[in-house]
Point group: C5
Chain length 98, copies 5
């Protein structure tokens, strides 16, 4: 899985019928330190992610293994909101409490 | 999924029999700001996309999950025409009305 | 799918038994303008492609969806000989008649 | 498979229900000489790997073939702790005994 | 498929139970001219490849289609020892007879 920040949403009215009801989010990719890196992905949302949240996403056939994406033409899915991760014993990212 | 602009079509007469009837479009890849980036893909078309339209495409096994691409040797499919997307609260792309 | 030019063939006598009878071609990758770009792939041939021909190839699990590659350990297949493609209204590539 | 060093853990409370019970590790990618290279991956852990250990991980659909990841939306899994590897007849990496 | 040279072996004692009995080889990637390029892969061996041999390997789900890798968490497999390949009518690589 890779890490991303939800920076926007995408609307598509004319789409394959199997995509009805999916929510598409625009993710900026993050590096291991939580810094934006070049690259983005449009991912289906399986966890009701909000703008600004840091998430984990899965690509490829794994993206069809959530209940909301099952058997749909979708190659990326947000499957977790990240609370925290650490690198070399230091907390790299910590979700704000609110 | 990634974003692309339909810039052309591709014709192949001598092809695997399972590809009969598919329409192949040439896509220029777009970055998160809607600017062309290096790279292209030839994708099957599941949504009757037209030249100049901005689309979402799915790669890998996801590309076989639309009705038109089911069980075909196809690794990229246009599965949505994009109406609009936003980044950091600003509209990045908006499809022309006509 | 991506575009390639068939530049050679590859022979492998000691190979997995499921690969018997497949023909392996060496492809030089082409960019959207039909120019060679760095990168190559060795692909199974599902369409009797010849040296010098410009082809479309599919990667990943899609490469097992042709009749000749079904259930074989093969991750790239030539699935179409390209006749022509256009970009921005101009013919970019046109197969020679002969 | 590629090689990585386990440098941290990741916690996600709000996640797809199919991910319950999986342990997520942050891996720094290693090159063939065991040196860190740019790039990371968040992988599910099938072998009880510990911080600092050098591991092999599998990506894509292979990541769902372990017992702990079966049918889950997971695209990377640690499937082996590396004891040793060699390159050109020299031992490149040797796990510490302790 | 891509081309690689077998430069070493990898040992992993603590690994997913589905990997028992597989042999892991370290491959240096080769370019179309048979020159080493940056990048490596650890691949399961389906053809009893030896150190120094030039091989073809398949990645992704194709890597589970050999008899030895069936349903295992393995994303790369050596599926052929290369005898020879040619580019533009010239022999690029020829396996030594011995």
């Amino acid at each position: 899985m890779l890490l991303g920040k939800v920076v926007g949403t995408l609307v598509s009215t004319r789409k394959d019928e199997k995509l009805e009801g999916l929510r598409f989010m625009v993710l900026e990719r993050l590096d291991i330190n939580g810094k934006p890196q070049s690259g983005y992905v449009v991912a289906a949302d399986a966890v009701q992610a909000g703008i600004g949240e840091v998430v984990m996403y899965a690509s490829g056939s794994a993206a069809r293994q959530t209940t909301v994406t099952d058997q749909r033409p979708c190659d990326a899915v947000i499957m977790g909101i990240v609370d925290t991760w650490d690198v070399d014993g230091e907390v790299t990212y910590q979700k704000d409490e609110d």
